[in-house]
C-alpha cells in the first residue's frame, strides 16, 4: 500500500493549510472508481472553523458524493491539516474515519517545521492506523 500523488496537488494542499491557518483545512482528492489514482483536488470548507476540529458541512458532503457518483469517481484521498501537532491521525480522526478505502492524508502547519512541509498518508480501518509511503509523481 502506498499513495502516489502529483507534487502539484500535494503543494496545493500544503498551501491551503497555510492559507487557512489557524483553522484546520480539509478536502478530498477524487479519482476514477477502483483506480486508486488521486487526480482531482477538491478543497472543502471546514464547517467547524476550528484549530482543533474539522468537519465537512453535511450539505457539502451530500453534494460531493453526488458529484463523485455522476463522474464515476470516488474519494481516493481525504486530507486535513493539524495546526500545532504532528501530521498523524488523532484519536478523533480514528474514531470518525468512515472511508476504509481512502488514503487519509495529514499535513501539519506546526511551527517547528514551518513553512508547512509535512505530508503523510495513512489507512484507517476498524480503528487501526497504518502509515504508508507517499510517492510524489
Amino acid at each position: 500500500m502506498a499513495l502516489q500523488i502529483s507534487r502539484t496537488i500535494a503543494d496545493a494542499i500544503l498551501q491551503q493549510s497555510r492559507d487557512e491557518y489557524p483553522d484546520e483545512c480539509c478536502g478530498v482528492v477524487l479519482g476514477p472508481i477502483g483506480s486508486d489514482k488521486a487526480e482531482r483536488l477538491k478543497p472543502m470548507v471546514n464547517a467547524a472553523h476550528s484549530p482543533t476540529f474539522y468537519e465537512f458541512d453535511p450539505k457539502d458532503l451530500l453534494a460531493l458524493y453526488r458529484e463523485a457518483d455522476d463522474n464515476d469517481e470516488e474519494l481516493v484521498v481525504i486530507y486535513h491539516s493539524h495546526t500545532e501537532t504532528e501530521a498523524h491521525p488523532s484519536r478523533t480522526d480514528i474514531a470518525y474515519a468512515g472511508e476504509p478505502g481512502a488514503h487519509y492524508v495529514l499535513v501539519s502547519t506546526r511551527e517547528e517545521i514551518a513553512p508547512a512541509t509535512e505530508f503523510r498518508s495513512f489507512r484507517i480501518v476498524d480503528g487501526v492506523v497504518t502509515e504508508e509511503p507517499v510517492t510524489f509523481i
Binding site: 488523532s90 480522526d93 472511508e99 476504509p100
Partner: protein
Amino acid sequence: MSIEVRIPTILRPYTKDQKSVEASGSTLATVITDLDSQYAGLGERLLENGALRRFINIYINDEDVRFLGGLDAQVKDGDSITILPAVAGG
C-alpha cells in the same frame, strides 16, 4: 411501501455488500427498525441511546433529516434515503 436506502461503504458488511437496499416505514424511525430487522446490527450503527448518531448523516431525497424532524421525519413510497458517514476529525 418501498424506500430505497443507499448504504455507504463502511456499512456494507451489514448488507452483504449491497450499495442500495429496500426498506419500508412511514417515518425515519420505522425505516431504521425495518432495516435493522433485515440487516442485524445496522440500527446500532445509526442510533445511539435511541437518537441519531452525531457523526452519521442521513438524507431523505436531498434534505438532511436534522431539518425534517430527525427520527420523526416522514417518508413515503418512492423516497430515497442516503446514509453517509461524516467526514470529520480533530
